[in-house]
């Protein structure tokens, strides 16, 4: 169980300010969707939380500990990360690739142990890639590859998981599978932060949405509140149809309004 806190976080790249004054607290057991138009700073926020990009002001803490002071391995054990369009440079087998998720747990020169192997098997089963275990990961279809990469991130068994755009190359069936899996992780007590473009998925699955625009938080709360007509018009410049099936909120972008 971990809590991640951003206090007054600014990120600058060159002279350009990408994030400005971000104050957010992420509690365990929640599936948080980070949404916003292209260039809003969603991926930068994810990278700042992971200490992959230095913050120019403010701080990010995990359970009160400044992430900049944690060792890279310690941070990796606490937060697992799946970047957008995860690259893979060598033709590794699916099992070997998923096994990379165990690296933060391995002592120097130690081997993959039974507990590691059990974790690898479990996440491959959860993501439905067990049958692909001996296939070369670079030769998989986009959807298969996306699930394998998610399995790799899950294999770390970190208490927090940050996933950047996991639905990009998935068909509707697999999109439902992935979002259900992430929601299940949150139910089990993990903090799951997912960067999304798909507002329908964000509205349906996330417990909380953080709406970014121009590097600032412009909305934070329940999906139905954050995805208001005014916010959609102001941030995305769209109108949308909104409704519910039972308790499930639905949203469908309709037209440009500016």
């Amino acid at each position: 169980m971990v809590t991640i806190t951003c206090r007054g976080v600014d990120v600058e790249l060159g002279r350009q300010r990408i994030l400005a004054g971000i104050d957010l607290e992420f509690a365990p057991g929640t599936l948080v969707g980070v949404i916003g138009p292209n260039g809003a700073g969603k991926s930068t926020l994810a990278r700042a939380i992971l200490n992959l990009i230095p913050v120019s002001a403010g701080s990010v803490t995990i359970d009160g500990a400044d992430i900049a002071r944690l060792s890279p391995a310690e941070l990796a054990r606490r937060i697992a990360y799946l970047p957008q369009g995860q690259e893979l440079h060598w033709p590794l087998s699916v099992e070997r690739l998923v096994g990379l998720g165990r690296l933060p747990h391995l002592a120097p020169f130690s081997r993959i142990g039974e507990a590691d192997q059990a974790a690898i098997e479990a996440v491959m089963a959860q993501t439905g890639v067990l049958a692909l275990r001996d296939r070369i990961a670079n030769e998989l279809s986009g959807g298969e590859r996306a699930r394998v990469m998610l399995a790799r991130a899950l294999a770390t068994e970190a208490a927090a998981l940050i996933v950047d755009e996991p639905l990009a190359s998935l068909d509707p069936g697999h999109q439902i599978d992935v979002m259900t899996l992430l929601a299940g992780r949150a139910r089990a007590g993990a903090l799951v932060i997912v960067v999304l473009h798909d507002l329908a998925a964000a509205a349906r699955y996330c417990d909380r949405l953080v709406l970014l625009d121009g590097g600032s938080v412009v909305g934070d709360g329940q999906p139905a509140d954050v995805l208001s007509e005014d916010a959609l018009a102001a941030v995305y410049g769209i109108t949308a149809w909104r409704g519910e099936i039972g308790a499930m909120p639905l949203i469908m972008p309709l037209n440009r309004c500016r």
Partner: protein
Amino acid sequence: MNASGRGHAPLLFPLLLLLTLAVGLLSITMGPAPIGISAMVSAIEGKGDPIVRAILLELRLPRAILGLLVGAMLGTGGAALQGYLRNPLAEPAVLGISPMAALGAVIAIYFNLADAHPWLVPLLAVLGAIAALLPLLRLSRKGESTLTLILAGMAIASLAEAGISLALNLAPSPFAAMEIMSWLLGSLEDRSFKDVLIALPCVAIGIAMLVGQGRALDALSLGEDGARSLGADLSRTRMILLFAIAIGVGGAVAVSGGIGFVGLVVPHLMRPFTDRSPSALLLPSAFAGAILLSAADIAVRVVPTATPLKLGVLTAFLGVPIFIHHLLRERRLW
């Protein structure tokens, strides 16, 4: 999986070990004076013909050891750099380190420093390799990308080559130019235990440092962000890698001269026998490099030519067809 031994075909290490021993022994027996196994055993026991003993212990043995050491270093260096730069074209020369080592040696030959002290040629080669580190480390501290590192390496290599050309251009006599050229072509001929003394610690330190980075290299399969999010400390890895290559390859080039292609070819040849992760490739590449270079060094002694064939020439001639054959067969899977 990683470091568990399951990343290799089960018989790979026993086979590589056997081949390494075989080429090592063959290298000792091969030469103008044929020496059989029994003569070799008596020489080791301190008995037998003193001339045979001298040939064996003062000429053949250091040459065989150097073949294995230099090959092992070039193979491991190539495998580590391909993993680090995530580029199947990488080899120790790509960062400009071995060209600078060559320049160091050429400077020593140009100024006839070998006459002052026989250790000065290899010493300047190692210093040349370390000099190449200075701009690379400066870039590394600034956290520049691997692409910047490759570009800087190419620039350093060009500078080293220009320096070598200048030495050839201004060579005081055709004999001096010939001596420089001869060194650049690479050879293990007439080496002694003095050379083993230079190469052995450099290569041992270099290989040990590189093998220790296997896990970070594996993590880099997922790119820099992926690796860092798996806990890899990339600036540390880069620093260790650069020092390891400078010390190891610098020490190897110092005693062998310019030997190309081994560092590029060997990781490609070994990859199909491993799970293709960078860590699983390091030690097999050390063995395969040792085998390939020793085999080439045996071949230069066997092929009858009017002037002795140089090792660097043969490694390229042997390496290129093997490499192209391998590419045609394996073209989709690096």
